[in-house]
Amino acid sequence: MPELTTSADQATKAAAGAAAGARLPEPKPEKTRSLWGDAWQDLRTNWVFVLSAVLILLLLVMAAWPGLFTGADPNDKDLANHYLQHPNYGHVFKADWLGYDAQGRSVYARAIYGTRASLLVGAGTTAVVVLFGGLVGMLAGYFGGWIDAVLSRVTDMFMGIPFLLGAMVALNSFTERSIPVVIGALAFLGWTQTARVMRGSVITVKSTDYVQAAKALGAGTRRILFRHVLPNAVAPVIVVATISLGIYIGAEATLSFLGLGLNGVSWGNDISDGGNSIRVAQFIMLYPSIMLSITVLAFIMLGEAVRNALDPKTR
């Protein structure tokens, strides 16, 4: 009740104010933000970032708890009643919402349940690629000399083989293509790009004053690498990794499409199956394709937003 404040109250307040004014104004420490702090300020208000982050969050929930989104079983087959049954758009979130495929399985349930495989393959491949490619690139960039020459030539060798071809050759030897196998096949040739980005980034950071200072103070190689070089060199790798995550999800679907992908429920397999009945029932292919494209899009948008936020030139 502000109107009831007595004059006495006001007096004490004024006195307090005067006392505060009498003291030297505490200089507010100038807040220095790191590169990432700056980027975060930029990203919070960037609608591309917010949109892609929300989409990815939704996809993560979908992958973890698909049962939240559909009550139907993706492997339930009912050929007698549901063969190529067209979508019933009134039944939102029901098993027959997006129709049934040529084996009488719910297209909607399969589109939801396919999320997990795609995200696991994408995240797993990215993790392996960043760890291995990042290590190779860091060693090549930091030590230079013959280590760099050897590592860079090895990277060139792996880069010479077309990505999709190499993955196909590797996957063709496995009849049981589980998620770790697909991750291994994609990461086998995928690490080269990360290695190159990391190498370039480390070479730039290596010559900076603070690294020289750490060296002069007698810091060990490991300490310099992991405490000084790595944190400052990792930004471009994170950007490339985020975008690649989307690309790997697309690659997994392409391999499934070629009949060399995951066993089990996956968007690639469903799109491939849908291709067989494309003349009569386009919807079977449409919905897994939309899910796949949205997922790839979300990761690419996230990566690009982060890149723009980290790059002072675009500010």
Binding site: R153, V154, D156, M157, F158, G160, I161, P162, F163, L164, L165, G166, M168, V169, A170, N172, S173, G246, G250, A253, T254, F257, L258, L260, I271, S272, G275, I278, R279, Q282, M285, S289, L292, S293, I294, V296, L297, I300, M301, K313
Partner: protein, 310 residues
């Protein structure tokens, strides 16, 4: 310049050997057997398998096989024999390569011309509506997998509108290859456009651009010479490595549109585990890739005289 080319060619030798050895090891070290594959589920007697393996040299250690193969390839241009058909691999390559080269060439032309044009338009009007539209469209093209795009094109242009043939006949003339080439080019086109846009938009703010405008040069010259020459370097790098990728990536496109090119042959070779065919095809792709990256390096000097080769 001559010395630089010589050094680059010498550097290629270990990469070439390493890449071919890698693909050789991948094909032979992984489980599976092309000779057993010849007989399907029925199988054959061990004696027959053994004699066939001996005939194709598959009973020797992998490294010896690799050495023999490379020796035959380099000295006699002999890429080996396809196990399934018994024909020399060079015959099969001779049939498949022209088709894929035509397809990849058309796709490359689309990608370069349309990609750079869109990128320049977008970059010159950075932040305007045209720019946003081009950015959104290219982003969509990148995120839609190429096989989905292929089906969309087939459904819309062939089945619904009846404008084009849904698949390509053995004649593989240019009009039939139009749709597959566009599909094959789409993702790279989007990359080229975005790369050009970033580069152009960045260089628009450069000092030399302001100088060029201030001294009264016509806009055509400012954009066409000053801007383009400086902006094209990253684009040329991408385009150079992409021709090889287009040929290798044609597997999916060739499958959808029923084109009998390198992609289909590679696919068959992988499925049937025919190491020799596969290694021969991949070797040529690797050569294309190495050759293109050499050309790119030499083009740098043309585009940017500041880059010199010692």
């Amino acid at each position: 310049m001559g010395r630089y080319v010589a050094r680059r060619l010498l550097q290629m030798i270990p990469v070439f050997i390493g890449t071919t050895l890698l693909i050789f090891l991948m094909v032979y070290a992984l489980p599976g057997d092309p000779v057993r594959g010849l007989f399907g589920d029925k199988g054959a007697s061990p004696a027959v398998l053994r004699s066939l393996r001996h005939e194709y040299g598959l009973d020797k250690p992998v490294l010896v096989q690799y050495y023999d193969y490379m020796k035959g390839m380099i000295l006699h241009l002999d890429f080996g024999t396809q196990v399934a058909s018994g024909r020399p691999v060079t015959d099969i390559l001779g049939e498949a390569f022209p088709v894929t080269l035509r397809l990849a060439g058309m796709a490359f032309a689309f990608e370069a011309v349309l990609g750079i044009a869109l990128g320049v338009v977008s970059g010159l009007r950075a932040g305007k509506a045209v720019d946003t539209v081009i950015l959104v469209v290219t982003l969509l093209l990148i995120s839609i997998p190429i096989f989905v795009l292929g089906y969309i094109f087939q459904t819309v242009f062939a089945f619904k509108l009846n404008l084009l043939d849904p698949s390509v006949s053995d004649a593989t003339d240019y009009s039939q290859l139009l749709m597959p080439a566009i599909v094959l080019a789409s993702v790279s086109l989007a990359y080229v456009a975005r790369l050009t846009r970033t580069s152009v938009a960045e260089n628009m703010r450069a000092d030399y651009m302001r100088t060029a405008v201030a001294k009264g040069l016509p806009r055509r010259r400012v954009v066409g010479v000053h801007l383009m020459r400086n902006s094209l370097i990253p684009v040329v790098t991408f385009l150079g490595t992409d021709l090889g990728a287009l040929m290798g990536g044609a597997i999916v496109t060739e499958g959808i549109f029923n084109i009998h090119g390198v992609g289909g042959t590679i696919y068959q070779a992988i499925i049937r585990r025919e190491g020799t065919t596969l290694v021969g095809l991949v070797t040529i792709l690797v050569l294309v890739y190495l050759f293109c990256s050499l050309i790119v390096d030499l083009l740098y000097a043309v585009l940017d005289p500041r880059i010199r080769y010692a």
